[in-house]
Symmetry: C2
Subunit: 287 residues, 2 copies
């Protein structure tokens, strides 16, 4: 009787401590791949008070910023309206194609009856993020496309891609950002060469993993040589968005981060320059 009571007492002690989260941050609480797992439940209050690292995934806009190289596209242009010296205030105006620099492709970019950039539900602009790194493959083949096998490989290492994330594809292409000819990599026939998603991979991520959006560190989620823009059609046809010309994907872990994608709110716009921030709790964010 005495021994029984003592046993129950110890059981309660253990239950209480577990419920209180005493063991939450111990190695016991993590699975085998726990090196990239974020601490439990990072809060908005931690974010608002500067206690979570924020990585800016955008490039600054200037007159050398890469843009989609097609007819009627012109570079970003900034003009000064007023200066501190002459007018007591600094103020400028700018011209910009929607699909220039770090930007969002709205669902109406390639598909009818899909929302314009100003009509995207704000809830879609906040998401968990995962990153798939194909830098090595893209180094060997500039036209490389993410395969289903690459995704399987990722899931084997990091677990199932959760529903409703934004997927970011790191190709290493951002090292060419400051050299537009190298970045678009146009051959003598006019064909572009840079990596992207395959149709199969995009369909899997959008349909089977319900991705809110697909992002990349190149000019397009379709690889350079594409003429049918099949990946754009898959993504936009499902009402999802693309994020292109992303910066600093090398600063992100494979998983365990959060994304904010904030495109300029152009009425009827097919997309536009966007601020994209990654919030990276845990050790990975502290670099």
């Amino acid at each position: 009787m005495f021994a029984n009571r003592r046993f129950a007492f110890l059981l309660f002690l253990l239950a209480g401590l577990t419920a209180a989260g005493i063991f939450r941050d111990s190695p016991l609480a993590h699975d085998a791949g726990g090196d990239e797992a974020p601490p439990a439940a990072p809060t908005l209050d931690q974010l608002a008070s500067g206690r979570l690292p924020v990585v800016d995934l955008g490039w600054p806009l200037n007159d050398t910023s890469p843009y989609w190289p097609a007819e009627n596209y012109l570079p970003f242009r900034l003009t000064t309206i007023a200066t501190l010296e002459k007018n007591g205030v600094l103020s400028k105006a700018f011209y910009c194609p929607e699909h220039l620099g770090t930007h969002l492709d709205a669902p109406n970019h390639f598909e009818k009856n899909q929302p314009a950039v100003d009509q995207i539900d704000p809830a879609q602009l906040f998401a968990r993020g995962v990153k798939i790194d194909v830098t090595m493959q893209a180094d060997a083949d500039a036209d490389y496309r993410l395969t289903r096998a690459d995704i399987d490989e990722w899931e084997k290492s990091h677990g199932r891609i959760p529903d409703g994330v934004v997927v970011l594809l790191e190709t290493g292409w951002s090292r060419h950002w400051n050299n537009y000819p190298r970045y678009k990599n146009q051959d003598t026939t006019g064909k572009l060469h840079f990596p992207g998603y395959s149709a199969e991979a995009a369909k899997f991520l959008v349909v089977e993993r319900k991705a809110k959006g697909l992002g990349i560190d190149t000019l397009s989620i379709d690889h350079g040589p594409s003429k049918d823009f099949v990946v754009h059609h898959i993504v936009n046809g499902a009402g999802r968005y693309g994020l292109e010309n992303l910066a600093r994907l090398d600063k992100l872990p494979a998983k365990g981060f959060f994304l904010v994608a904030a495109p300029i709110k152009i009425e009827t716009g097919s997309g536009g320059p966007a601020r994209v921030f990654a919030i990276v709790p845990g050790p990975a964010g502290r670099n």
Copy 2:
């Protein structure tokens, strides 16, 4: 001895349940002014999975969008580069003054040696928010300026404004948004008339409450008749930003919400169109 053991047992049960957060959402856990208190620690995961209401505080940009009415300023202009019918893709380009529509004033707008819009530390763009409502005062006086007494009154009702928030001033002016002449409210001498912050209030919020930024639902954080833009100088001089032409401030509670301010990343820009989102946990967000 038996009674003592029983007592200790019950104590442990209570401690365990309390630590486990069983009582966290009970009325016992809230203080007297709990009607506006958010649920404990809303998380990024809740935000990313659509479980927290997001209020879009921005207006869509079009050719009737209000802008600062001064020399060299032109309206927003959208041109179509390609269409689905002709080109298989919808794509546009736009012209925009930096200080048009819902936008952010960077610290370099009115002050030398302060960061441009692309140089603002991303950590400054995430903040807790408070809203001060002077709709009644502004109804009686279009040139009304928020006073120190208004802030004292707010703090008496809602508690001390925490350090590092973004303060939003609701004046009711957004009801004139779709009528630019009424919104800027220019008299026959050219003077503008709409409400704003007083220098005293701005200084208090920036210095004593370390506000990251000041926002408003009018063309300017300075009230319409201002010629010295003293509030801009106070805010920008302290390295802080302004948020102007905000929408839907009437949807926000006085406190207990979070803000994301995401301005277009123009290199050397004095500001620019911004997406501004409020995340409103708790009952206030469910309207």
